[in-house]
């Protein structure tokens, strides 16, 4: 899937990813390829991204939004 993480300070991540684990208002969720379209409000915590090479990257998130678009496109707006 293609993952983008934007913040008001700039783009934090833009590229292919295998997996995204992120805390949301209704609980922590993991997004993999071909997830159903979803819009969710994220919560304070740690977003974990497994990039194309299988390495894990961590991003601190205060609040924000998650959008899973059809076609395995994932967008995170973080603060």
């Amino acid at each position: 899937m293609r993952l983008r993480i934007h913040s008001l300070r700039g783009t934090l991540y833009d590229g292919k990813a295998k997996r995204l684990t992120i805390p949301t208002e209704v609980g922590e969720i993991t997004v993999l390829d071909d997830h159903e379209p979803l819009i969710s409000v994220t919560k304070e915590g740690l977003a974990i991204v497994e990039d194309a090479g299988g390495k894990e990257q961590f991003f601190r998130i205060n609040s924000g939004f998650l959008e899973v678009k059809p076609g395995s496109e994932v967008l995170v707006l973080a603060d």
């Binding site: 700039g10 979803l38 819009i39």
Partner: protein, 322 residues
């Protein structure tokens, strides 16, 4: 003819002024570029947030149209009280930057069809110059925010944004207008009025689009931004609920909008200052040229006079010339 020492003093004074204005010109140019860069850095976030908003609204319209009603930030109510945010600079030496914003405000308050005047409006001033002006005109100042002049931090914006939103939700004011400078190019800025609250999708979109200048560096980004992926009907699952998501997203968007307005005012301030300082440096250069000419001429005149005196004295002592 002015005395030589006097001329010399003036000349050195003007030279140091020239140095200062030239330095200020360079500093302002750098700050302007910085403000523009920061503004463009917010672009990806702002554009994605807008797209997200349009998806949520579309999904609400399809599945639960009644959910769109009664969201306070979007609902226009009778405007009994108005808050006006005046965005100016803290310091002077910016040419007509502040006066054009204040003139726009003055013109707006004078319009006959307009129920607002200096007495019945609450002012929030960003920048000392605007605050001073409102005080002088006898307006009610709710809050003054200063030191927004150099590239501003996000937390400064959050303070201003939450004050505007809280005041609106608590009913202290029913609409919020912003008077600020719109950055068109390094040589052209325009004073504009924008409506901040109640929020309107189109006006948010416009402010975000306006961050990209029309000409000069970065202007080619404009085309790329205008293409957006609207119009795709999508079936989203929205958690916790569309309404909650919308209520969370709107203050964010408002903050982005305010941030963009401030950054734009910032870029405008610095480019106005750059132009003003360039004019000052040019004038100083011209003065230096004229004064140097005058100085040299008086010096030569003095020498000629002394020589004449010496030769005439010699001639008087020794009339035969040997």
């Amino acid at each position: 003819m002015a005395s030589l020492t006097h001329l010399k003093k003036r000349l050195s004074g003007i030279k140091s002024i020239n140095q200062i204005t030239a330095a200020m010109e360079l500093v302002a140019a750098t700050k302007m570029r910085k403000a523009q860069e920061v503004a463009l850095g917010t672009r990806a976030y702002a554009w994605s947030a807008l797209e997200l908003l349009s998806h949520i609204i579309k999904s609400l319209e399809e599945h639960a149209p009644e959910g769109l009603f009664h969201i306070p930030l979007l609902t226009r109510r009778e405007a009994k009280k108005t808050a006006i945010v005046v965005v100016t600079s803290d310091k002077g030496l910016v040419g007509s930057f502040n006066s054009s914003v204040l003139r726009r405000l003055e013109k707006f308050l004078k319009e006959e069809t307009n129920p607002h005047n200096w007495e019945n409006v609450t002012f929030i001033a960003v920048g000392q110059k605007g605050a001073d002006y409102v005080k002088k005109r006898g307006g009610v100042l709710h809050h003054v925010f200063t030191s927004y002049g150099d590239v501003i931090r996000l937390d400064q914006i959050s303070e201003l944004a939450s004050e505007i939103v809280d005041g609106y939700l608590e009913g202290i004011w029913d609409e919020v207008l912003v008077f600020s400078a719109n950055f068109i190019s390094a040589l052209r800025q325009e004073a504009v009025m924008r409506e901040l609250l109640p929020m309107d999708f189109e006006s948010v979109k416009n402010s975000i689009r306006e961050v990209v200048p029309e000409t000069g560096r970065y202007s080619d980004l404009k085309k790329e931004m205008l293409e957006s992926s609207e119009g795709r009907p999508l079936d989203y699952v929205i958690e916790p609920s569309p309404r909650d998501a919308l209520e969370k997203l709107l203050p964010h968007l408002l903050r982005i909008q305010i941030y963009d307005i401030m950054l734009e005012a910032n870029a405008s301030e610095h480019s106005a200052r750059r132009v003003a300082m360039k004019n000052a440096s040019d004038n100083a250069g011209e003065l230096i040229g004229n004064l140097t000419l005058l100085y040299n001429r008086s010096r030569q005149e003095l020498i000629t006079k002394e020589l004449t005196e010496i030769t005439s004295t010699v001639a008087a002592i020794n009339p035969m010339g040997n």
